[in-house]
Symmetry: C2
Subunit: 353 residues, 2 copies
Amino acid sequence: MSNKQIILHERPTDAIDPSLTSGTFRLRTVPRPDNVPADKVLVRVHYLSLDPAMRQWLSASRSYIAPVKIGAVMRGVSMSRVVAVGKDLASKFQVGDWVSAYTGWQEYAVLGKDDVEKIAIPVGGRPTDVLSVLGLTGLTAYFGMIEIGQPRPGDTVVVSGAAGATGMVAGQIAKIKGAKRVIGLAGTQDKCDFLVKELGFDVAINYKSPNWRKQLKAATPDYINVYFDNVGGEILDACLARAAPFSRFVMCGAISQYNTSKPKGPASYMNVISQRVTMKGFIVFDFAEKYAAAREELSSWLAQGKLARKDHILTGGLESAPKALVDLYAGANTGKMMVEVAPVNETEPRAKL
Amino acid sequence: MSNKQIILHERPTDAIDPSLTSGTFRLRTVPRPDNVPADKVLVRVHYLSLDPAMRQWLSASRSYIAPVKIGAVMRGVSMSRVVAVGKDLASKFQVGDWVSAYTGWQEYAVLGKDDVEKIAIPVGGRPTDVLSVLGLTGLTAYFGMIEIGQPRPGDTVVVSGAAGATGMVAGQIAKIKGAKRVIGLAGTQDKCDFLVKELGFDVAINYKSPNWRKQLKAATPDYINVYFDNVGGEILDACLARAAPFSRFVMCGAISQYNTSKPKGPASYMNVISQRVTMKGFIVFDFAEKYAAAREELSSWLAQGKLARKDHILTGGLESAPKALVDLYAGANTGKMMVEVAPVNETEPRAKL
């Protein structure tokens, strides 16, 4: 049996080229590792999470995590199921268990017990929720909004990339926490309609409309108390220009800047001084010891119908991952971008032990 | 008797023009207000404080304080002495008392009791200290470094505008608080020598030398834990590129950007995310309730010789204030820039009451 993998072929300088024959990545087929060591499990990947941070993992510059090596399987988290259990782990895992793990972009992976997290899918939940609203993107929204943004009743909150996996959760949490006015920025009219009609945002602005800056100004008569930034660039700049005194700028992502070798700083940054803004960057991993409590609260909001989810799942198999990543940067998704490598209920040939 | 005043004539779009006949300001002579109302004091201005923030007070854009009006006396704090006391204030003030007040750029001012702060010059101190190391610039350094920068033993601390009034105090406070390595950036070799030889900075870098970025990199092998920014622009960008994980960026000023209508944002701002930087802006006025305690600590450091002071006093009288301001932005000063409007011991004709 075989295992398809997508490996990094060359570091992009600007945009990612999704072609598997001439682009950033290559497809490779290796044997499926069926002789599972005693202290490992073999898992089959069902859903890959596609995340804006991936572009930075491809870059050799200093970051919070080492870059993916040339020739290595592309890094990524997935929801996978256990296919075979090494004998020392028989008390911990069963065939069929759902696990979340950094399997990377491949069909199968052999992992130690510390590299997989066994997941009980919440009642009413789906395996894919564990990659989206209850996964790293939902947790990113949760910690960014609650720990850094700290929205208070009466606040005006702006979220960019609002129809993305993190943005949509961030905006909904601001509403749950009593913000007076939550404004989302997104790149199509459909996304804007979705934010207002389905997620309860007060205002949504299409940043591709020529007068979006004017609309942002009109929508923030009391200026901006919390800005949750997923995009950077011009939108960050416009929000800094509208920063309220003592506002909090949650620096989560900069998707508009990842694919350029010459990022642009926000010219209005001097408002950080005059308006006493706190701009604070964070990485969700910093809050790992609080994941369980956060997931519990997110699950309860989901169960109570306070938090709506939306996923964008490509079904073309592993090979569609590079294109999904390019689509993500182009804003093709509403909600969490995932790739279905294998459907949930696909029968799995039993591995030899 | 007369009172010379310098008034704002027109808002500069870029640089300030110091000419009093064709530039940003005009000289006006009005009668000295000798009939002091019962609830006021008449003060004579001795020393004017020149501060980088002044450029923003001239601009009509939104800030933490209203802009100076066209035709109004230029705003500014001074050390002044009481010349005449209204009869209701006779128990509070005596002729000859030193006061600190926003007199603006003029020779005399009539002020209510809440608009003047009576100052006891500390033993061993000078009246000018109250505008520099014990004044708003010293307090700015104090609160910015202690409340936001929070240098810890072992930290690498970088200060820009390090030979300016705020920067030199900020760097010294970092040393007092146990920072391992304090690096100052300044614009001449003389200033750099002064920082290292007289103030105890570990390294000083002349940012006008062509390889200053390389020098900064070499001086920060463990990256930067605290950056105290007085200048913005390229230096802020270079320091962001060297930010250590969880570093604090004290956003105090942006003197390199004040005189341009097109400020430049820091392209390396994405490190705010990956390195979890906290960039926090502040205005010294926010800490007003803590001034007394801070002045006491600064005075004790001064008395113990832990804190060195350096002033740059122009003696050309009131008329030299516009030029002093332009010099300030050009970096002509080492230490606190002031204008002597009248020497300390000049005899004062007694005012009529």
